[in-house]
Symmetry: C2
């Protein structure tokens, strides 16, 4: 037993992952393993010209979700989506999922049915199957999902392929999941303040709430890219906000980047929420996280194809590494963009305001 | 939201798994999926003549382990072993693992290092790699591991292949993990009773304690079977005790079975523990669980090959389904053998005596 007690929080999330993968460095590496720890998914050769990808993500009650916020079926759906999103970020299609469940005593059979209904709906949507699992009692609800996907060797896309001169692009709209979270937290506070007088006002915010509680992975874009002849040079899914994700692409590719703030695509509902709270909407996109859109780069020769693709936006450029990661807007000019990411709330402090605040990042 | 609250405990573990897999029944099935939920691992075609298997298992603090009992490095090792054991039960070799960790605040960086050292040691032993993961804060320590393995299509073994007339066999010795648990619980009680006068007495019990805290999956048997020309007709790993596992084989294969109690193989240390506590040693093997040996069946023509293989024992016979599952000993004759399995201790009751007692089974 070690004499020392160094709190894990001193490492930070990236430091922790680095330390753990260093710890494993001397395990002999199979020639069939193309990519290990360090991308959205690990990649290995399964057959001639065929790669499989594998990714895993857990959702923990009190850390990633609050059971009073999210219906069980949405939670099941979301747990599958967040993993499929990682598979899609490799330009791969999901095939099989396994799930381990830690089930607390205050969950009923009916709640579990509903959770599975959500997972089933997601599996059907993504054309995949739930093939195995493990269930145990637990103190809190714990879902850990693993998804295996498939991609032709010539089609696989990594975080590490961005080149200087490439265009930086994003699918769909961004910041919506964080806007949804703002509304949910606000309604919870209203419920607290008003008691029996409380009447939920969620209809005006259906889109952003769905973005938060029942997100879809952009599997549809894999086909859309192929059809349009677009071959991303690098790709990552937006789970932690654009600011964090562009740092991953830049680090892995050895490049810098500029994000053009006025080019960020927002849904009108997201704008309405930011206006309502007098928030900077750009921060929703850059630091909010959980949008599960795709951030990707293309060769300049393909920029026109991206412009022509519905629901895709060019939002910046890949530059020399020496230029660093910057955000440009006409008001502020070029400013360094730091990788503050999504906040999970702290199970030991029970403070919902810990959600999504870049100032107080204390995820592991 | 459902109006009903049916406690999950009313379903029982098998009932729960059945209900959840029924819930998924209408998801279209891929022609490449050979076996879904219901064996030690799911099996799918990866290439011409090549199958991949996938399995997942979680270890939850306060349910599957007590952090005051098990050194972190042993826990890491065990978490890999229990998953590899499921892969081996398909006659497959493990290739890749992913891990999701829920890490409580009272864990230090040093403890996490030690946990990873254990996982690394296991990966090296089994010739596999840890290729991905996910870490979060959590209320208690939670490890969920997924392992992918590979097997030639002609070599795969399922639970469902046992035939009437086959011999029932087991690798290694059984009941040791439960004996180890008895010792650990006894020492804990001694510590409680004696306070500062307590001196741990573990040296005489090293083997059984290792069986409980740092079990090995029987990957070596895959090669031994091949070398000896043995082709099991069915196989399962012993995680829940022989009584439970033989029911799985029988249900899946549509057969009955008789276990010959005097043929059960025990280590002398296991015998010594059973003697010390005046326990029925057969119950350790039948109901104790966590031995991670292989229970398998062979065609009668191969019985001699099994007899000739060091560390393998023939312990019974496969019979017609109408005969049910029975245990035979000269003292009692033939008696029905019920599938009482391994007990996890109940996180809500904090009663260590819940371990391993068939009378009070209340795992989910």
């Amino acid at each position: 037993m070690s004499q020392h007690f160094t709190p894990i929080s001193t490492l930070g999330e990236f430091g922790l992952i680095q330390r753990l993968s260093d710890r494993l460095a001397d395990i002999p590496r199979s020639p069939d393993l193309i990519e290990g720890i360090g991308d959205d998914a690990a990649v290995y050769r399964a057959g001639e010209g065929i790669l499989h990808v594998i990714t895993t993500d857990a959702l923990i009650e009190g850390v990633h979700f609050d059971r009073t916020f999210i219906p069980m079926s949405f939670l099941g759906y979301k747990a599958i989506s967040v993993n499929v999103s990682d598979v899609v970020a490799m330009n791969a299609r999901p095939m099989y999922a396994t799930v381990t469940l830690g089930i607390p005593r205050n969950m009923s059979v009916e709640m579990l049915d509903s959770l599975y209904d959500g997972m089933r709906a997601a599996c059907k949507k993504y054309g995949m199957e739930l093939v195995g699992g493990d269930t145990s009692t637990s103190h809190a609800l714990y879902l850990s999902i693993t998804v295996i996907g498939e991609v032709a060797e010539r089609d696989v896309v990594f975080r590490r392929g961005a080149n200087v001169g490439d265009f930086l692009c994003v699918t769909g709209d961004v910041g919506g999941a964080y806007a949804g979270l703002k509304i949910l937290l606000d309604q919870r506070q209203a419920l607290k303040d008003m008691g029996d007088d409380y009447e939920p006002d969620l209809e005006a915010h259906q889109y952003v709430i769905q973005r938060q509680l029942r997100p879809n992975a952009r599997l549809d874009m894999i086909d859309a890219f192929k059809k349009a002849g677009i071959r991303p040079t690098s790709m990552i899914d937006i789970s932690d906000g654009i600011a964090s994700e562009i740092h991953h692409i830049s680090t892995k590719s050895g490049v810098g980047a500029t994000v053009r703030i006025p080019a960020l695509p927002f849904d009108p509902e997201t704008r309405a929420v930011a206006d309502q709270f007098m928030d900077d909407i750009d921060a929703y996109a850059l630091f909010g996280g959980e949008d599960y859109e795709l951030l990707f780069t293309v060769d300049p020769s393909q920029a026109e194809l991206v412009d022509g693709l519905e629901g895709c936006s060019v939002i910046g450029n890949i530059e020399e590494a020496t230029k660093g990661i910057r955000a440009y807007s006409p008001d502020t000019g070029l400013l360094p963009l730091h990788p503050a990411g999504y906040q999970h709330f702290d199970p030991d402090e029970d403070n919902p305001d810990n959600f999504g605040l870049p100032e107080s990042k204390h995820i592991l």
